[in-house]
């Protein structure tokens, strides 16, 4: 039975595009509760989700929220209705749970306020640690940039953050300009 499941998953990976595969896998998991399907979905998305949350917070919060997001996915799997957008749904839950976490721990301040747009990177010197450089961006710019690097369209990012597309464009422009100015590839 285990071999049959593995074969089933391999067939998915070979024949389907990544998005369709995600949807098919999730549908399979929703209908059967199959742990192998959940495990495959987890392997495909977990590092992306975790890194997005790590860029937006700290290692402890990122790990906690990542776990909560997957538990929420399991709990709400029968209510999932969007077609072809599993990854966007996953990151939407991640975005909301992270903000809830900030609010609960009273860490929601000016820098993490979604309306903050200014605060350019410090100094004129070039940085060689890209992770630390991204973390210096204001919250909203960091989020827009990170989501774009995860492959989301402007419309997806707008939906995940709950803001208009034009706002996303502005945030991305600020973020990319700052990073290009300060990033020095080694």
């Amino acid at each position: 039975m285990g071999i049959a499941k593995l074969g089933f998953l391999r067939t998915f990976l070979k024949t389907e595009t990544a998005t369709t595969c995600n949807e098919t896998l999730f549908r399979h998991y929703r209908q059967t509760g199959d742990s192998a399907a959940l495990s495959t979905l987890y392997d495909q998305h977990c590092n992306n989700l975790y890194y997005y949350l790590l860029v937006m917070s700290d290692p402890t919060t990122a790990a906690d929220v990542t776990q909560k997001v997957w538990l929420k996915v399991m709990e709400s799997r029968h209510d999932y209705q969007s077609q072809g957008r599993f990854q966007a749904w996953l990151f939407t839950i991640g975005h909301r749970m992270l903000i809830d976490e900030f609010r609960q721990s009273k860490r929601w301040h000016a820098d993490t306020d979604p309306d903050t747009l200014s605060s350019p990177l410090r100094g004129d010197e070039k940085d060689t640690d890209f992770h630390q450089l991204v973390k210096q961006l204001p919250f909203t710019q960091r989020e827009a940039f990170s989501l774009q690097q995860e492959g989301f369209s402007l419309k997806d990012i707008a939906a995940i953050c709950g803001v208009p597309v034009e706002t996303v464009k502005t945030r991305l422009r600020y973020a990319r300009d700052s990073l290009k100015k300060h990033w020095k590839s080694s």
Binding site: L71, A88, G162
Partner: protein, 197 residues
């Protein structure tokens, strides 16, 4: 629509940074352990569904007896409802042998109790209205069963989220139950189990 170029230097740097910070393995173990636990419960229910009719009858009778015993025990030790306790405190009128200064305290207590009662009433759901989430960009838009649009401000959504009264898994097209209090104020948005219209 995506403006990101795969060969973009920033994209490469982002991917390299992500590679340096993989998700801790304990998250996967915890998630899969929870999944196994859920499956065990389902398996137990599935196994029980194979019981023949006589065993089902015995099980139902046992559960019925247990419920009856619990009900009896709870009735015997049933505390007064909270509202009754509050009413007694509100109606406190003092006694002649009260020490001086105590009435002030009692007045304050009465005021606090009234305020507490008012807040409890605010939290009580008066009625629930089925709707569909049509948009969650900025202000949230819902469409109810009569095709009427309900707009909920971004600020109110933020407040409800802070109180964990908005289900984080809501996306466009999700059917929801909008819960209102006696004054018609929206106090909770939760996912509906199925299309309710």
């Amino acid at each position: 629509m995506n403006e990101s170029d795969p060969k973009d230097e920033l994209q490469q740097a982002y991917d390299a940074a992500k590679h340096r910070y993989p998700a801790p393995g304990r998250i996967k173990r915890a998630v899969l352990a929870q999944q196994q636990q859920d499956r065990s419960w389902r398996h137990l229910l599935h196994t029980n569904s194979r019981l023949p009719g006589r065993e089902w009858l015995a099980l139902a009778a046992a559960v019925g007896c247990l419920m009856w015993l619990l009900n009896t025990a709870m009735f015997a030790h049933k505390p007064l409802p909270d509202t009754d306790i509050i009413a007694l405190q509100v109606e406190y009128h003092g006694y002649q042998d009260d020490v001086a200064g105590l009435p002030d305290y009692r007045e304050k207590l009465t005021l606090y109790t009234r305020e507490f009662t008012r807040q409890i009433e605010t939290l009580n759901i008066f009625y629930s209205r089925p709707a569909m989430l049509a948009s969650h960009e900025g202000n949230w838009l819902f469409t109810d069963c009569d095709n009427q649009t309900i707009t909920v401000s971004h600020e109110l959504i933020d407040d409800l989220r802070a109180l964990q009264r908005v289900d984080p898994a809501l996306v466009e097209g999700t059917f929801v139950a909008l819960a209102f209090d006696k004054q018609g104020r929206l106090i909770k948005i939760e996912q509906a189990q199925a299309k309710s219209c």
